[in-house]
């Protein structure tokens, strides 16, 4: 017996820059089974109701990464997002183009900023002159070496993470989750000779702007987990070069900060991260906070058992920062 259909209320973002003054949301209703992907719903609209609707897609099988868009505010591949659960949760399906990229028309965005950021990490193998790759036969890797890649080679460059990322939207210097996950993939590649240079370069080029909000990891259709690999890059960057940026100084400073009392000393951390000049610049805001919350200027009482914490640090934190 055929599966019963449901009424699928779509509200689709429509906008043609240069012609339309502001975007509008157009409503369409199609009858489909709950398992039907949102992409098929949109193609049905285009085939039967409105041939002017623009969208980008290709394989319809979650391989090509072309059909990423915002579905009820989540950045997703339309080809693998079924309509049923969306209607159950929201009563409707709002479809919008990906965020953080300019709209070309309707659901199609200009991906140039995304690809520019990707190019910036030099996403290609840089042969290691000390360990030249064999010519005419494949290079082999041990299972342990392969394990270090995690799932980063699975990335299909759909840009869902880039669309979901609040740091990309607020700071042009941040390379974005996909570019950094790709960078990680080259950093751990035993055939790549750029390991150290790549880490030094990225430490000064936006690595520390990641907010670790994990929206990239939740939106990724391939479980690449960019936020976790960005964390790995941060620790590796500190290990090869020490803390050279405000972001790494903050992370290392926080770690050192706990040695005093086991609890955060807010004032001391601000000084460590900002430096004296930056700290002075924040004095006005500090005084504003202090008036309501005098504890910001107070040293916390040391926790009981501070000696235990000291010994944990002694065992696990060998001061590998340069």
């Amino acid at each position: 017996m055929a599966e019963a259909t449901v009424s699928v209320p779509l509200e689709v973002y429509r906008f043609q820059p240069g012609r339309d003054r502001v975007p509008r949301y157009q409503r369409y209703t199609v009858e489909l089974t709950p398992h039907t992907p949102v992409l098929s719903a949109l193609l049905r609209v285009r085939a039967e109701i409105d041939p002017t609707l623009s969208l980008r897609y290709s394989c319809r099988s979650a391989i090509c990464g072309s059909c990423a868009m915002q579905i009820n505010s989540k950045s997703r591949l339309a080809c693998e997002t079924p309509v049923g659960p969306e209607i159950e949760r929201h009563g409707r399906i709002v479809v919008e183009p990906m965020a953080n990229q300019p709209v070309v028309r309707d659901l199609v965005v200009n991906q140039k900023p995304f690809w520019d950021r990707y190019e910036s990490i030099e996403p290609h193998l840089k042969p290691d002159p000390d360990h030249p790759m064999p010519v005419g036969r494949p290079t082999s890797m041990s299972p342990q070496e392969v394990e270090r890649f995690h799932d980063t080679p699975r990335c299909i460059a759909c840009a869902s993470c880039y669309s979901a990322c609040p740091a990309v939207g607020a700071d042009p210097e941040f390379p974005g989750p996909m570019a950094l996950a790709k960078l990680y993939r080259f950093v751990v590649d035993p055939r790549d000779g750029g390991h150290q240079d790549r880490l030094v370069r990225i430490q000064a080029s936006g690595l520390w702007l990641c907010l670790r909000c994990h929206l990239c990891t939740d939106s990724c259709p391939k479980n690449v987990r960019p936020s976790e690999r960005i964390r790995d890059l941060k620790e590796m960057a500190i290990a090869v070069q020490g803390a050279t940026e405000a972001g790494s100084r903050h992370a290392v400073g926080f770690k050192e900060n706990l040695k005093g009392a086991g609890l955060l000393n807010e004032m001391r951390l601000a000084r460590a991260t900002l430096g004296l000049g930056g700290f002075a610049g924040q004095l006005g805001q500090g005084i504003r906070l202090w008036r309501k919350k005098p504890e910001v200027a107070r040293r916390p009482h040391p926790i009981e058992g501070m000696a235990e914490l000291d010994q944990i640090y002694a065992a696990l934190d060998k001061g590998d920062e340069k």
Binding site: R212, K234, E245, A251, L264, I303, E304, I312, L316
Partner: protein
């Protein structure tokens, strides 16, 4: 119920009002909070960036204290929640486990991994239950339009936090509705507050905070509420900077989650530390009708 109470650094210092409100609400609901003067900071995500194994170890030490007392552990901060939960998960990796045990076992600390880490929000919604919350309400929030702001680490990565949807949660809104508030749905409720880069790239942090507040405001919110004191710093403590970054007045009162629960239970603003906020909460509190006579 009885639970280990992990206040975290901020609630013990500049976010003291969160601790006040938490204790008030838990007393009203008969939740016995057991304190541990040996608890250290959770590392706040920053120690994790500098040294992952160290971060797991300091949190395994915290968790071992609760385990030793046979208690689950309650957090009042999305970031503490994320870090302690993460330690529970990372310890399942034998390589991490070996390194952590190597540091803890010589100190006589061994953590078996039995402690459940629960944020106050989850304790209220799941362990106490919305019916019991409703029954305790003395001063319903009178349809005050509140935008819940979750804070990332209580939700994501959602497969690891294993609770609500990472992008479409509803526990906080359910709680607000049980208190008589009118929860406002807006995209920014699951977004970042900008806190992690507040000292690293202030302009970016303030812009991100300003966008979420503006989003809540544009969806009709009279106030916002958060289960995370770090989000509270970004959204309340630095709202003046956020206004500057997004170029508009926001005037958005930001409540800590237990403060709204406390107000609905009949606590006074002073008992909940509301005068300590940077953005005055008075206008929002004034919208709540007085408690009906008992």
């Amino acid at each position: 119920m009885k639970i280990a109470y992990y206040p975290g650094c901020v609630a013990q210092e500049s976010g003291r009002e969160l601790d006040l409100a938490t204790r008030w609400v838990c007393q009203a609901l008969g939740i016995e909070l057991v304190g541990f003067p040996k608890f250290s900071c959770c590392g706040s995500g920053f120690v994790d960036e500098a040294n992952e194994v160290l971060n797991v170890a300091i949190n395994a030490r915290n968790l071992a204290l609760a385990e030793g007392a046979g208690l689950d552990l309650m957090t009042v901060c999305s970031t503490c929640q994320g870090m302690l939960q993460l330690a529970n998960l990372r310890l399942k990796d034998p390589k991490v486990r070996t390194k952590v045990d190597g540091a803890l076992v010589p100190l006589g600390i061994s953590y078996r991994g039995s402690v459940k880490v629960k944020h106050l929000l989850r304790v209220l919604v799941e362990d106490i239950g919305l019916d019991a919350i409703r029954a305790r309400v003395r001063r319903p929030l009178g349809g005050l339009k509140v935008g819940a702001f979750y804070g990332c680490h209580i939700l994501r990565p959602s497969d690891e936090m294993a609770w609500e949807s990472g992008e479409e949660p509803h526990a906080f809104e359910d709680l607000l509705a049980a208190l008589g508030a009118d929860p406002v749905l807006y995209r920014g409720r699951v977004m970042c507050c900008g806190f992690p880069v507040l000292f690293v790239r202030p302009q970016t942090a303030n812009t991100i905070a300003g966008r979420q507040i503006a989003d809540a405001k544009d969806h009709g919110a009279d106030a916002m509420a958060t289960p995370c004191p770090l989000c509270h710093i970004s959204l309340d403590g630095y709202q003046n900077k956020a206004e500057h970054a997004v170029g508009r007045r926001l005037d958005m009162p930001i409540f800590h989650l237990p403060q709204l629960v406390g107000l609905a239970f009949g606590a006074s603003p002073e008992e909940l530390g509301l005068p300590r906020h940077l953005v005055p909460t008075g206008p929002a509190v004034a919208q709540i009708p007085p408690a009906p006579p008992a």
